[in-house]
């Protein structure tokens, strides 16, 4: 009986992960967080409800002061927090000279600050029993991406966070995973590469399968690494 919190669950990889994991018998409680209430409703509608308690909480994660009481209320209701999937992401591609302060703030609040705060609050309840945290970074965090400065650098922070937390939380029995998806057909990707045909690239469901494999109890060796998740393009004929 495990409780799993998923951020960014209203669309893309977050939604695909929620749907995929709802078929796992060992997770019984799901808490889905995202800003969009209608997006969350759409995710809940696609999930397997049999034997599951699913709670969708429309939440603006950029309000980081609201995270502490939110996580406490989740713990109080379910009695444990066992899995945390930090999937929420924000992107607003712009060249350095066009990157506004608002863009920088929003990107970092969602991709970095909220991820740190939600992790901190969850770890208070995840300590001392085997638990897992999975952060979704991006290949943009480890390769140069002119025109994506705020997003790419924020994802580099997520990669670094995973490496540090792997060591810092090891004593508590918490395993930390970082995945960096490459091109994936999400709404976010559409903003970053509007010209791309989404049917030709990796789908959110492919990433969700990787997530499901990593957070399964049987997986014990791949934590602490930045795992690039990428579908190689089909050979051109």
């Amino acid at each position: 009986m495990k409780t799993c919190i998923i951020t960014g669950a209203s669309q893309g990889i977050g939604r695909a992960a929620a749907v995929r994991l709802s078929n796992e018998p060992y997770i019984t409680n799901f808490v889905l967080l995202a800003r969009s209430a209608s997006g969350l409703e759409g995710t809940v509608a696609q999930m397997n409800h049999e034997g599951k308690t699913i709670k969708a909480l429309p939440t603006d994660l950029s309000d980081i002061d609201a995270i502490e009481p939110l996580i406490k209320s989740i713990y109080d209701e379910f009695g444990s927090i066992d899995l945390l999937l930090n999937i929420a992401g924000y992107a607003e591609p712009a060249a350095l000279l066009d990157t506004t302060n608002e863009n920088i703030k929003t990107t970092y609040f969602i991709n970095v600050f909220a991820t740190i705060v939600i992790t901190r609050e969850c770890v208070k309840y995840m300590r001392n029993h085997p638990t897992k945290i999975l952060n979704v970074a991006s290949t943009a965090g480890v390769t140069p991406r002119p025109g994506w400065l705020a997003y790419a650098s924020s994802k580099a922070a997520v990669v670094s966070m995973g490496e540090t937390l792997t060591q810092e939380l090891a004593e508590y029995g918490i395993k930390v995973y970082t995945i960096s998806p490459g091109r994936c057909a999400t709404e976010l990707r559409r903003k970053l590469a509007p010209e791309e045909d989404p049917t030709t690239i990796m789908q959110p469901e492919d990433v969700a399968t990787v997530i499901a494999n990593l957070i399964h109890d049987d997986e014990t060796c791949l934590d602490g690494q930045n795992l690039v998740v990428r579908q190689l393009p089909a050979p051109k004929k």
Binding site: K124, Q167, E171
Partner: protein, 230 residues
């Protein structure tokens, strides 16, 4: 059977040459005292835990507790001018206890199993000790006496004592104005109580000198995480 614990965190870290007391220095990613608190957290039968620390660090210690949801059983009070006075103040804060366990914040590598062995020991007074692997002589500028190494023991914490007897011994020491460096000596001096010496561990070091921090990182990686370098 009420068991209380005092965690001594009163050092000012002169030997470390650092602006903050050594118990608040970072070791393996967290303040040294936190390593101890997280072990004590797992001792559910210890009803109250009193941390004694310098007055200017009481608030900070409360924050460390709060950040880890260590509220309720744990509290922090101002320590005394001396180690002995800090123990006494800690006992006053604990109130009447059948057993008092004393540990120090700068011994981060005590294990939960060691705490358990001590608390569960049939002896009402028990301490940890390790054999002394080197020769100790009496004297400062000149040798004044030899000591028989095989009769000596290097005293470690944690320790546990009968609460009433320890309080009585402390009150006698206060009345006479005598200072002891630790509580087994004090209790033995006044009460001649039988104090069992349990086998301590090499890794339960006291972080005192700057090099101890370096050694501490190695102990953490090897014994706590169980990770040798790849």
């Amino acid at each position: 059977m009420k068991t209380g614990m005092i965690i001594l965190a009163g050092g000012v870290g002169k030997r470390m040459n650092k602006p903050i007391p050594k118990q608040f220095l970072i070791l393996a990613g967290k303040p040294i005292i936190v390593h101890v608190l997280e072990k004590v957290e797992q001792l559910k039968d210890v009803e109250r835990v009193v941390i004694t620390c310098p007055p200017e660090y009481v608030a900070e210690t409360h924050m460390l507790l709060q950040h880890r949801n260590l509220v309720g059983r744990f509290t922090c009070v101002e320590g005394g001018e001396t180690r002995q006075e800090s123990v006494y103040k800690g006992m006053l804060e604990l109130g009447e206890c059948d057993t008092v366990v004393i540990h120090e914040a700068v011994r981060p590598f005590v294990s939960v199993a060691e705490f358990r062995e001590l608390i569960d020991s049939d002896h009402e007074n028990a301490i940890y000790g390790v054999r002394i692997p080197f020769t100790v002589l009496a004297g400062h500028e000149y040798v004044e006496d030899t000591l028989e190494r095989s009769r000596l023991v290097n005293v470690q914490l944690p320790q546990k004592f009968d609460g009433a007897k320890l309080m009585k011994a402390h009150e006698k020491a206060r009345a006479e104005g005598i200072e002891f460096t630790e509580d087994a000596s004090l209790l033995f001096h006044y009460e001649q109580s039988q104090i069992r010496i349990l086998e301590g561990s090499e890794r339960n070091i006291k972080i005192t000198e700057p090099t101890d921090l370096i050694i501490g990182e190695a102990i953490y990686n090897e014994y706590v995480l169980g990770r040798a370098a790849d």
